[in-house]
C-alpha cells in the first residue's frame, strides 16, 4: 500500500495492456474559454439519461416549471431524477430520438423556455461541514447527478458504498481525441472542483485521493497542482497519454497496479472513481443547490468554423449547438456524439445533450475517413493479431470476431466477450478494417436477448410443471370428494325420514301425471309424425341422435324386456332405497320430464317409424328423457351449467356423427349400445346441472366421466352397467 503511494510520488506508474495513440486533435478547442450559449427555443429532456431506470414523472403537459425544478422523482437508488434546465412550459411528453447508438426513441419531456430563466427557491449552503453525510448524499441524489464521464452511473450509489475506501480516484484523463471539456473545466473552475473533491473526501474518507490526468493537458495539470498544493492527501498523477487511459479499469490499473475482477465494482477493492466533471456537479449541488442541469460540451471537428467548449443546458438539441459553432449547411451530415473512438453517429440533429454528453463532433470528410464511416472496406481477417496487441482488456478480438460471426455464444462467453469495454482500439488498428466493435455489440445484444428468452422459457416450464402438479392434485381431491359424496348419498337414501317420504309421494304423483300425459302425446305425435316426416332442419342432427339413441334403447329394451320386468320386481321392494325419488334430484327430474314430453313429439319423428317404441311406455319415456334433457338445461341461469350443457351437446353430436351410418341403419351394431349409453349418461348429467345442489353437480360429473369411459369400451362389459342404468330409469318411471 505504502509502495503504491511511493511509486505514484515517483511518477512510476503501472501500465495497462495494449492501448493506442490516435491523433489527439484537442488543439481545436483547448485555446478557447468555455462559452455560454443562449437558451434554445426548445429543450428535449429524455427521462432517463443514465445507467439504471427512469424516475417517475412528476409533471404534466401544460405545467409551468421553474429552473431547477425536479421533473421526475423516485426512491429507487438506480433512478436518477431530471430537472428543468430553465423556466418554461412543458409542451409535450412523447417519444423522441435520443442519444443512443441505435438511434432509439424514448420518452422525453419537451420544455418551451419562457426566456425568464427564473430559478425555483434555492437554499445555498454556506458551510458544508454542518451537513451530515446523509444530508449530503440526499442532496447529491436529488440533484440528479450521475457519472458525467460517459457511462452515467448514479453517483449516489457509488458514494453510498459501505466498503472501506483506500483510494478515491478522480478521473481527469480525458483520453478520447478531440474532447477537452474536462480540461477547460479544470482550468476555469478548479475551486469548485476542489470543493466537490472535498465533499467526496468527507463522505468516503479515503486514505488517498488520486487525480489521474494525461500529460497532454499541461495547463490543467498546473492549475490542479496549484490548487492541491496544500493538501497532502491529494496527488495529481500526470500519466502518459495513451488511449484508453480514462477507462475506469485501466486508470485503476495504472494508478494502483490492481485489476478489478470481472463482474465486481471497484469499491470492493477499496477504490471509488469519480469523473472530474461530476465533482464539479457535486459541489454545485451541495453548496449552491443547483441540480445537474448543464454541462460543458466540447463542440469540435474541422467541419465547424468556431469549434469551442460550451456550457450547454441539458436537453439542448445538438443542432442548436452546432449552429452556434458555425456548422455549414451540408447535405450529408456526419455528427458524432462523444469522441471519435467510442461516440456514436447521430440520426438527427434534434438529439438532445444529456448528462453523459461530453462532446459533439462534426468532422470534415477528410478528417474522419474511417472505413466504418465511408462505406466498408472490410476484408478477411488474416489473424495478424494487432487487435489483441492493443486490447486493454487482453481479449482476443480476432477470435471473438469469428465466434461473433458464427453466433457461437458459448465460445464468446469463454472468450470473455462481456469484458470488452468497446474502446474501439482493435477496430482502430485492424488492417483488414473489420468493424470489430460493431460485431461485438451485435453479439452482446443477441446474447442478452437469448438470456431473456431462456429466462422466459424457464418460467414457462416452471408454470407448466406447477399446473401439471395442480391438475394431478385436483384430480385426486375430486375423486375423494366424489367418493365421499356417493357415501353421503347412500346414507341419506337409507335414512327414511318422513320428509323424504312425503317428497317421495309428491314426486310419484307428479310422475304419474307426466306419464299419463306423455302417453297421450306420444300416441298423438306418432300419428302426426307418420303423416309429416319432416323434422326441422336445424334439429335434424339432434333428432337423428335422439332417434338413434331411442332406437337403440328400443331394441335393447325389447331384447331385455323380460329381464327388466323380472328385475323390477325385487327392486320394487327396495322402494326406500331409490335415490331419485328421495331427494331433490327427483323433483328436478320430474320437472324436466314435463318439458321432455313436449319436446318428444318433435324429436321422435323418426322414432315414430319404429312402432315398437310407441308401444312400450317405459321405453318411450326413456327416449324422451334423453332427448329433452339437453334442452332442459337451457332454462337454468347458471353459466356453468350452460357451458356443461354445451359441452355435452357437442359430445352427443360427435357421437352421433360417428355412428351416423349405424344410426341410419335400423339394425344397430353392438357398439351402438355403448354410444347410446354414453349419450344417455351425458345428457343425464346435463339435466342435473341446472340444479344448484352441489351433490347433483358431482353426480353429473360422475355420470359424465362414466359416459366417457363407456364410450371407450367396445365390448360387452359396457353393456352391463348400461343395463343397470336403464333399469334404474325404468324403476323411477314405474314409481
Amino acid at each position: 500500500m505504502g509502495s503504491v503511494i511511493e511509486r505514484i510520488k515517483r511518477a512510476n506508474f503501472w501500465t495497462f495492456h495494449g492501448g493506442i495513440h490516435p491523433p489527439e486533435q484537442k488543439f481545436l478547442t483547448t485555446d478557447k474559454p468555455i462559452r455560454a450559449v443562449s437558451i434554445p427555443e426548445q429543450l428535449i429532456l429524455p427521462l432517463q439519461q443514465h445507467i439504471g431506470i427512469a424516475a417517475d414523472l412528476r409533471v404534466k403537459i401544460g405545467d409551468k416549471v421553474l429552473k431547477g425544478q425536479a421533473l421526475t422523482q423516485s426512491m429507487h437508488p438506480m433512478a436518477v431524477p431530471i430537472h428543468a434546465p430553465t423556466s418554461g412550459t412543458i409542451t409535450a411528453i412523447k417519444d423522441a430520438v435520443i442519444a443512443h447508438p441505435s438511434g432509439l426513441s424514448e420518452l422525453c419531456l419537451f420544455i418551451t423556455p419562457d426566456g425568464e430563466d427564473t430559478w425555483q427557491e434555492r437554499h445555498i449552503c454556506t458551510d458544508v461541514s454542518k451537513l451530515s453525510h446523509n444530508e449530503i448524499i440526499d442532496k447529491i441524489s436529488s440533484a440528479g447527478i450521475s457519472g458525467m464521464g460517459g457511462a452515467g452511473f448514479p453517483t449516489q450509489v457509488k458514494i453510498s458504498t459501505r466498503d472501506k475506501i483506500q483510494f478515491l480516484i478522480i478521473n481527469a484523463a480525458e483520453c478520447e481525441p478531440y474532447i477537452s471539456a474536462d480540461d477547460l473545466l479544470i482550468r476555469e473552475h478548479s475551486p469548485s472542483i476542489l470543493d466537490g473533491i472535498n465533499i467526496l473526501d468527507r463522505i468516503l474518507s479515503p486514505e488517498h485521493i488520486l487525480i489521474g490526468i494525461e500529460n497532454n493537458k499541461p495547463e490543467a495539470i498546473k492549475v490542479l497542482q496549484q490548487a492541491t498544493a496544500n493538501n497532502e492527501k491529494i496527488q495529481v498523477c500526470v500519466l502518459p497519454t495513451k488511449y484508453p487511459t480514462g477507462g475506469e479499469k485501466q486508470l485503476i490499473q495504472i494508478l494502483t497496479g490492481q485489476e478489478v475482477p470481472s463482474g465486481v465494482f471497484p469499491s470492493s477493492l477499496g477504490i471509488v472513481m469519480q469523473n472530474i466533471a461530476t465533482c464539479f456537479a457535486i459541489a454545485d449541488a451541495v453548496i449552491n443547490d443547483i441540480p445537474l442541469i448543464k454541462r460543458v460540451v466540447t463542440v469540435s471537428g474541422q467541419a465547424l468554423q468556431k469549434p469551442q467548449n460550451v456550457w450547454s443546458l441539458l436537453g439542448t438539441p445538438v443542432g442548436f449547438l452546432l449552429e452556434q459553432c458555425g456548422y455549414p449547411n451540408k447535405d450529408k451530415k456526419h455528427i458524432i456524439m462523444g469522441g471519435p473512438m467510442m461516440g456514436y453517429s447521430l440520426p438527427s440533429d434534434q438529439v438532445p445533450v444529456v448528462k453523459t454528453t461530453n462532446c459533439i463532433l462534426a468532422p470534415s470528410e477528410q478528417e474522419i475517413s474511417s472505413p466504418y464511416s465511408t462505406g466498408t472496406k472490410e476484408v478477411e481477417c488474416i489473424r495478424c493479431g494487432q487487435c489483441s496487441d492493443v486490447c486493454p482488456s487482453q481479449l482476443l478480438p480476432q477470435e471473438l470476431q469469428w465466434s461473433a460471426k458464427a453466433k457461437d455464444h458459448q465460445q464468446l462467453d469463454k472468450l470473455n466477450l462481456f469484458d470488452c469495454i468497446e474502446c474501439g482500439a482493435c477496430a482502430y488498428v485492424c488492417p483488414s478494417q473489420i468493424p470489430l466493435v460493431h460485431y461485438y455489440r451485435v453479439a452482446k445484444s443477441e446474447i442478452r436477448q437469448q438470456k431473456q428468452l431462456d429466462i422466459k422459457a424457464e418460467h414457462a416450464k416452471v408454470r407448466f410443471e406447477a399446473r401439471k402438479e395442480r391438475l394431478a392434485r385436483d384430480k385426486i381431491a375430486r375423486e375423494e370428494k366424489h367418493k365421499a359424496a356417493a357415501q353421503a348419498r347412500k346414507a341419506r337414501m337409507n335414512s327414511g325420514t318422513s320428509e323424504a317420504k312425503t317428497e317421495k309421494s309428491a314426486v310419484a304423483a307428479a310422475l304419474a301425471r307426466v306419464k299419463a300425459k306423455k302417453a297421450q302425446q306420444t300416441q298423438g305425435s306418432d300419428s302426426v309424425a307418420a303423416q309429416t316426416v319432416a323434422p326441422p332442419a336445424d334439429n335434424e342432427q339432434k333428432s337423428q341422435v335422439s332417434a338413434a339413441i331411442a332406437r337403440a334403447k328400443a331394441k335393447k329394451l325389447a331384447a331385455q324386456k323380460n329381464v327388466a320386468t323380472y328385475k323390477s320386481e325385487p327392486e320394487n321392494k327396495l322402494d326406500d332405497v331409490k335415490p331419485t325419488a328421495d331427494d331433490k334430484k327427483a323433483k328436478i327430474a320430474a320437472a324436466v320430464a314435463k318439458a321432455k314430453a313436449r319436446k318428444l313429439t318433435e324429436k321422435n319423428n323418426d322414432n315414430a317409424v319404429d312402432s315398437d317404441l310407441a308401444v312400450d311406455d317405459n321405453i318411450t319415456n326413456e327416449a324422451a328423457v334423453l332427448a329433452s334433457q339437453a334442452e332442459a338445461v337451457v332454462p337454468a341461469n347458471d353459466k356453468k351449467a350452460k357451458i356443461a350443457a354445451a359441452v355435452a351437446k357437442a359430445k352427443a353430436r360427435k357421437l352421433a356423427e360417428k355412428n351416423n351410418d349405424n344410426a341410419v341403419d335400423s339394425d344397430l351394431a353392438v357398439d351402438d349400445n355403448i354410444t347410446n349409453e354414453a349419450a344417455v349418461l351425458a345428457s343425464q348429467a346435463e339435466a342435473v346441472v341446472p340444479a344448484n345442489d352441489k351433490k347433483a353437480k358431482i353426480a353429473a360429473a360422475v355420470a359424465k366421466a362414466k359416459a366417457r369411459k363407456l364410450a371407450q369400451q367396445q365390448d360387452k362389459l359396457a353393456a352391463t352397467p348400461s343395463e343397470e342404468k336403464t333399469n334404474k330409469h325404468v324403476k323411477s318411471e314405474s314409481t
Partner: protein, 358 residues
C-alpha cells in the same frame, strides 16, 4: 439532408492488409539481391514466372467464386505467396515446377480452403513440399554459387535452362552443377549431411569449397539479406518479433546442445542459422499470420516448436533442410497452440499479488 450513421470507432489508423503485404514483399529485396548476386538470374526469373502464374490462378478462382476481383487480386497476398515460392526454388529448376507449384499454392492451398485468411497451411511451403515430394530431382538441383561454377551462366543461359533444360551452348543442368574440379556440388547443408554418411567429420566437411570461409559461399549472404529484411519488418511492426526470435533461439539452443555434445558430428549453431531457409523461414514464412499462432505466448511456442523440428529434420531426417516440413507441422499445431496460450483477460484469474492488497 442525410445523416451518416456508422459504428464506432470513427477513426482508423489507415492501415490496410495490402500495404502489409507490400511491406513484406519489399523486405525480401535484400535477400533476393543476394540470391541474384551469388546464384544468378534463376530466382528472379522464377519469381516473375510465379507472380504471373499466381495472378492468373487467383483471377481464375476469384471469378469462379464471384468475388470482387479488383479488390482481392491486388491485395498482395497472392503476389507475396508467389515471391516466397520463387525465392525457395532452385535457381535452375524447370519452368513448369514454378507453374505447378504456384497454381497448387493459390488454387488448392489458399482458395479451396476459403481464400485469404482461411488457409490452414502456408501456401508457399505447402507447394514447396508438394514439389519436393513429387519432383525430387528437379527440386534438389541446387546451383552452386557462380564463383565456383566451371561454366559461365548469363541471363539468357539461365532463361534457356529454365525453359529447355539446356543453356544456349547446350550444357545440361548436371553439367552446370559441376565444380571446376569436376564434381557435382550440393548445398552446404547437403554436403555436411552426405559427408557424415561417408564417415567424414564436420571439420573435414567445412573444408568443402561450397562452404568457403564461413558457413557457405553465397548462402550466408542470402541468409543475411533475409535477416536484414526481417529486422526491417520487425522495426516497421509489420511482423511480430516473437515468432522469429523464438524460432532462431530454439534452433540455436538445439544445435548448441548437439554441438557441445559432439563437435565432430554436429555443425555449429551459426552454420544452422545461416544455411538453408533458416532466416527466410524465420522472418517470412513462420510470420505468416494466417497459418500461425496469434497470441504472443502462442507465437513463442509456435516458433520454438518449428525451430526444434527444423533441427531434428536436419539432423535425423532424410532431407538436408527441414524448414518447409517444420512449418507445415507447426501450421497443423497452430490452432491447438492458440487454444492453450490464450492470454489472461483483464479481471480474470487475478493472481494474489495483483489482486486486492488488503
Amino acid at each position: 439532408m442525410a445523416f451518416w450513421i456508422a459504428s464506432s470507432p470513427h477513426n482508423h489508423v489507415q492501415s490496410e492488409t495490402s500495404s502489409m503485404m507490400r511491406m513484406v514483399i519489399y523486405a525480401t529485396i535484400p535477400g533476393i539481391f543476394a540470391q541474384w548476386y551469388f546464384f544468378g538470374w534463376g530466382n528472379l526469373i522464377h519469381i516473375s514466372l510465379a507472380v504471373i502464374t499466381a495472378l492468373v490462378a487467383e483471377f481464375t478462382v476469384l471469378s469462379l467464386r464471384e468475388k470482387n476481383i479488383k479488390a482481392q487480386l491486388f491485395d498482395g497476398s497472392a503476389i507475396l505467396t508467389a515471391v516466397l515460392l520463387g525465392i525457395s526454388l532452385p535457381a535452375i529448376a524447370p519452368w513448369w515446377i514454378t507453374v505447378i507449384g504456384v497454381s497448387f499454392a493459390i488454387i488448392v492451398v489458399k482458395q479451396l480452403y476459403g481464400g485469404l485468411g482461411h488457409n490452414p497451411f502456408n501456401p508457399a511451403m505447402a507447394a514447396y513440399v508438394m514439389l519436393l515430394i513429387s519432383f525430387p530431382l528437379q527440386m534438389t538441383s541446387w546451383l552452386p554459387p557462380l564463383e565456383l561454377m566451371a561454366l559461365p551462366l548469363k541471363f539468357v543461359d539461365t532463361l534457356s535452362v529454365i525453359f529447355s533444360s539446356f543453356t544456349i551452348d547446350g550444357y545440361s543442368v548436371e553439367q552446370l552443377r559441376t565444380h571446376v574440379d569436376g564434381y557435382t556440388m550440393a548445398t552446404p547443408l547437403d554436403t555436411v549431411k552426405t559427408n557424415l554418411t561417408l564417415g567424414l567429420n564436420i571439420a573435414e566437411s567445412m573444408t568443402s569449397p561450397v562452404i568457403g570461409e564461413n558457413y557457405g559461399v553465397g548462402w550466408e549472404w542470402v541468409s543475411a539479406g533475409f535477416l536484414l529484411g526481417g529486422l526491417f519488418l520487425i522495426g516497421k511492426k509489420t511482423i511480430h518479433w516473437a515468432t522469429p526470435a523464438s524460432f532462431l533461439v530454439s534452433i540455436f539452443i538445439c544445435s548448441l546442445i548437439a554441438f557441445l555434445y559432439s563437435q565432430d558430428t554436429n555443425a555449429s549453431t551459426l552454420f544452422h542459422w545461416f544455411n538453408g531457409a533458416c532466416m527466410f523461414g524465420a522472418f517470412f514464412i513462420l510470420t505468416d499470420p494466417v497459418s500461425g499462432a496469434t497470441s504472443i505466448k502462442g507465437r513463442i511456442v509456435f516458433g520454438a516448436l518449428a525451430g526444434f523440428l527444423v533441427f531434428i529434420i536436419r539432423k535425423y531426417g532424410g532431407y538436408p533442410d527441414g524448414v518447409a516440413f517444420a512449418v507445415l507441422i507447426c501450421n497443423m499445431a497452430a490452432p491447438l497452440i492458440d487454444q492453450y496460450t490464450r492470454p489472461r483477460t483483464y479481471g480474470h484469474n487475478i493472481s494474489s499479488s495483483k489482486a486486492g492488497k488488503e
